[in-house]
């Protein structure tokens, strides 16, 4: 059934099929006239049966037969024997149709429908299935139907498991059998209440599948099953808070006394934010729901718990998100008092924050920090422009480094009860698999083996260090991905992306490594002696951004000269004001979607990318940014409507990104989309813009 080449039909075949089509058309029109006149006589039924035998995919005829069955059963005075015979006839028609095409949807559905009516014997079904599964063991229709019949028959999961084992034994390339096995095991694992017994089940499966991996490492079926097992092992159970802004114990200084928007950069100091309000960001290890004022309580003199609205930062319009933000209003604060206010945030003390699989945030978490208000003294020029040139940056001095609020969440510096969420069994199992796959790779070259090893190593690191502060295996994993990029060029981008994420994790894993990328920015006037701190991850050959949990504090971010094609996840960086994405590989405005959530963003450089270069916007086809997902909704509520004369229809995607931003500086030169028409459109939708491509708009 698989891998057979198609051959062009011979002339005589073409003639025969034309004759067949002629006959079929005649039969079809006769059938339709019966159908429309609701004639359910023997003769009419025969016509439909004949039609279906020739063309089992003709769904109308199946529906007609369903109507006919209902009609006849209703008429019969319901002698059970007669009813049974009606249904038995249907089974026969289905069987004939399947003989013609055993992958016909209509036929299998009809059979399911007949059996679900409960008048027919099931004895024959497994034998029938055996026949079809022998004809093609990867026929998913048959597998689906098998699950249905097994449930009807009440066959034990163990029996069905044995069946998959037999089929896998015959040919372990049969992924359908492996897949059914994973379905059955999920059932079993759900039932196992004791942790240890489900661990036994998973361990046995690892043993089983390793036989396939070792026997033929080039076959993918076993590897996919292995990946599923890895998932079962690695499954993070309870949600955990992995990062937050502000970090616990932080002394936040809020400065400025005028509208922040007019002074984009003047208010930088150590870690200051806009005066009116500041964000609290909670970053979890998985998507959670139920973050609200009853599950998260805020105690402070200047703000009422109930006044804080928590919003999920999720591109999909979904109630679950890894990242949640709540804005604290500072309008009630006395601007002239320099005494710090204490803010205490408690979460996890009450049920309510839970993961998609229904597990509650298990570890209660308390975080407290202080807020003090510092009136802004120096007024800087409105015309000050952020320039990203190399000479504007200098290394951070040591006393400054202390102030960088990163890496608090390693379970030690945080004054919270930290309980390991991973068991010895999990880590042991992963370690065992690492050694098995290493042994295999020592004797067999296997691409899929290499990627599995990379995933196992990362899983091992993640399990031994839930806050991703230890990256023991990062070097090895980076090596594996680099090798794969060479070995398997057709999946280059995937390997590159994975490699980027690992690289970022490594760069941001410890204070020492992170500080190498922190610089003071001296390009603007600053109230303090030193400029604001900028994280510069430029020129790292990164194609995808990650590790945002480590970057919640960042206000200036330089990602230029990379190979980024996506900035997914950047919506978490609520403090971000200046972002340099110049000279990357962004292909469209839709790939900038996360920027819509960055309320503080004022300065953006997306020059020299590939926006407008490609006629097909592939971002649209990835699920997270589907044009059908209505993700514009949140923004419309902000009452942003396009200026009437703006050419919104031609630049809809650009409008969607920029409409909620209050950019003062934008660099967009060097993209295919840029022309005079587009620039004039930008000026209309970005009224606060001061600099466009380095040009001071107020001086024109």
């Amino acid at each position: 059934m698989h891998g057979r080449p198609r051959t062009a039909p011979k002339p005589e075949d073409a003639a025969a099929s034309a004759a067949k089509a002629q006959k079929l058309r005649a039969l079809q029109s006769q059938f339709l006239s019966y159908h429309h006149s609701r004639i359910y006589t023997e003769e009419a039924l025969d016509a439909s049966a004949k039609l279906l035998e020739i063309n089992p995919e003709y769904y109308t005829a199946w529906n007609y037969r369903k109507l006919a069955v209902e009609h006849r059963v209703g008429e019969s005075g319901s002698s059970p024997e007669y009813v049974k015979s009606i249904f038995d006839e249907e089974l026969k028609v289905v069987e004939n149709a399947l003989r013609q095409n055993f992958k016909s949807y209509g036929a299998w559905y009809h059979r399911t429908w007949v059996l679900s009516k409960g008048h027919s014997s099931l004895d024959h079904e497994l034998r029938l299935l055996d026949r079809f599964q022998k004809a093609d063991p990867r026929n998913f229709h048959a597998w689906n139907y098998r699950r249905f019949v097994a449930a009807l028959l009440g066959r034990s999961v163990e029996d069905e498991l044995q069946y998959t084992e037999d089929l896998i034994g015959n040919n372990f390339s049969n992924y359908s059998a492996w897949h059914n096995r994973s379905m059955l095991l999920s059932e079993i694992l759900k039932k196992k209440e004791q942790e240890s017994s489900s661990q036994d089940v998973i361990s046995k499966e690892y043993e089983f599948v390793l036989n396939a991996l070792y026997t033929d490492p080039d076959d993918q079926s076993g590897w996919f099953y292995h990946l599923w097992l890895l998932d079962q092992t690695f499954k993070v159970k309870a949600p955990l808070l992995v990062s937050s802004w502000p970090v616990p114990g932080f002394d936040l200084v809020v400065s400025g006394n005028v509208s922040f928007a007019d002074h984009p950069l003047s208010s930088f100091s150590e870690f200051t934010v806009a005066l009116e309000r500041f964000p609290v960001v909670l970053y979890f290890n998985q998507n959670v729901e139920g973050v609200n004022s009853s599950t998260v309580t805020i105690q402070s003199t200047f703000v009422q718990n109930e006044d804080v609205t928590w919003k999920p930062l999720s591109l999909q319009n979904s109630p679950a998100s890894k990242v949640w933000v709540g804005y604290l209003d500072l309008s009630g604060v006395d601007h002239h008092s320099s005494a710090p206010y204490t803010v205490e945030i408690k979460l996890g003390h009450h049920q309510g924050i839970m993961s998609s699989n229904g597990l509650q945030l298990s570890i209660p978490f308390d975080l407290s920090f202080t807020v003090s208000v510092k009136p802004l003294e120096t007024q800087s020029s409105k015309d000050e422009k952020v320039a990203w040139e190399e000479d504007k940056f200098c290394a951070c001095e040591t006393h400054l480094q202390v102030a960088i609020p990163c890496l608090c969440y390693d379970g030690i510096t945080v004054d919270n009860k930290y309980e390991p969420t991973t068991s010895d069994w999990q880590i042991g199992t992963i370690a065992e698999e690492i050694s098995q796959i290493r042994n295999l790779l020592a004797i067999s070259d296997s691409k899929i083996g290499k990627i599995t090893l990379a995933r196992l190593l990362m899983a091992h690191d993640a399990m031994s260090s839930p806050y991703a502060t230890k990256t023991v295996h990062a070097e090895e994993v980076l090596g594996l991905y680099s090798e794969l990029m060479k070995l398997d060029p057709s999946h280059y981008q995937y390997y590159k992306d994975e490699r980027s994420l690992v690289l970022l994790q490594q760069l941001l894993s410890s204070r020492e490594t992170l500080l190498r990328y922190c610089f003071c920015y001296r390009g603007i006037t600053s109230p303090s002696a030193y400029g604001p701190i900028c994280l510069r991850l430029n020129n790292q050959s990164i194609s995808r951004m990650g590790s945002f949990d480590k970057l919640l504090w960042v206000q200036l971010l330089d990602l230029s000269d990379n190979e980024l094609h996506s900035i997914e996840g950047m919506e978490a960086l609520q403090l971000l004001r200046c972002l340099n994405l110049g000279r990357n590989k962004l292909r469209s405005f839709t790939s900038l979607d996360p920027l819509r959530y960055l309320r503080s963003l004022k300065v953006l450089n997306i020059s020299h990318n590939e926006i407008g270069l490609h006629s097909i916007d592939t971002t649209r086809y990835s699920c997270s940014a589907s044009p059908l997902s209505h993700n514009g909704e949140i923004i419309w509520s902000d009452d942003v409507f396009p200026p009437e004369d703006a050419d919104v229809t031609n630049y809809w995607e650009a409008f969607m990104v920029f409409k909620s931003l209050e950019l003062t500086q934008l660099d967009i030169v060097g993209n295919a989309v840029t022309n005079e028409k587009f620039k004039s459109f930008l000026l209309k939708i970005l009224p606060k813009l001061q600099f466009l491509d380095g040009q001071n708009l107020h001086q024109i």
Partner: protein, 541 residues
Amino acid sequence: MAELPPYPPIEPSEFDLVIVGTGLPESILAAAASAAGKSVLHLDPNPFYGSHFASLPPDDLSGFLDHPRPSSPDPAAASGGDDLAAASIDLRSLYSDVEISSFAPETLEQHSRKFSLDLSGPRVLFCADKAVDAILKSGANQYVEFKSIDASLVCDKGGNLVNVPDSRAAIFKDKSLSLVEKNVLMRFFKLVQQHFSGDGESDRISEEDLASPFVEFLAKMRLPEKIKSVILYAIAMADYDQEDKEACKIVISTKEGIERLALYHSSVGRFANAVGALIYPIYGQGELAQAFCRRAAVKGCIYVLRMPVIALHIDKESGEYRGVRLGSGQDIFSHKLVLEPSFTVPSSRGLLPQNSLMENAQVKAKMARGICILTSSLRPDESNFLIVYPPRSLYPEQVTSVRVLQIGGNLAVCPSGMFVLYLSALCDEASQGKKILHRAINALMNLDDSEISESTPASTVQTEEARADPLLLWRALYIQELTAGQVGTVSSTPMPDGSLGFNDALDATVKLFQTIYPHEPFFPETPAEDPEDDGALSVET
């Protein structure tokens, strides 16, 4: 010949080819020659088909082993004409040291006709065996049905029987191999597969390697001992200890080795109903010869059983063969004559050009064969299986492998509930051969080696009522000669060879046919006459 009833004369009395003996090579030859349009007379002095490839009840089998003919031909032969001289035909026995022990004569007596014991066992068909192709091409598949051999086992170093990891699926399921061994073995299989199917020169094994001994190539590929032994003895079916250069009379070259491996692999999965590489004909091996005979008969070949040939007619002037005198006294003339291997024509006549039909014929070796009838299967869950004891697995001095085949009642070779065990091993002389078989039988039945019964005098039927082991009802041990057939105007077919399958026998038969009829195709491809014959082999599940 006085006891023979008068036989009506055979019409006509001139044939293209006369064949004496209905063993498998003779029967294939008869079918092929008939299919090529030759007139063929096929005779057998025995009352049954199959000659040395027959399947017989115990008593007939012991009778045949002792006296291969119901009666020896009359040496006094008259000349058929003035210009013809008579030449005598000598008979020789292929069997010696026959030793038959019956432990439950009544039980056997009761079921005697239900047994079909193979004379040249253990022998099975590889699904990709050339004999299978011949069966399909000739149309003989209409007359014979097969069943799968359920399992193939090999004795490992520790004396345990383990399944032979002979295919991808078997390697995956194997419980005795380590993960690394699985990988190494499968990679070797792929290497061989690529050699045969790959297009690039880089896929092929080098000529130098192909010429080297297989055992050295396996070592070069760094296969562990255990796997080497499995490949050599349980897949390539090597007879001699390949590791022992002195004792090894037949060294398998890499070329041969990988060809045998390829035969094994192309056998797995050739027929949907066959679970492994091997199949066996229902009612026994004798069915194969009979199927070809029936095929030949359809094509016009004339069959006469119980008909000995008592002399040859030789042209006085040229000394060439002209015809035969039958036991009935009739003279039959033909261009060619083929004799089964028990017949010899004194070579002083210069009739037989010394063209050997088989390679390795220079090896002077004998085949020790054994047959046991058992009351229960040696393995609880399986009825039909093959076991190989590689050299040195039974005892240190064992230089050749022992192959053991158990066939159960479901193949109709014995009453249901009973089992027939065939054993064979190459040997230099009888005592050595019997020792190997005894050791193998003891190992299989968990007997102590001290229980080896002293060699009983040949061809006596013995009853040992006090025998401790209830399993064994009957046992035959015998030594069979191994010489190749020869080709000429008068040709002789090869004896049953020492291999497990039929490939070698078929090669020799094709060669013989092509020497006799150099311009005729061996079973021309013709559309099947019988529309119901779909050209498939019937393998029952």
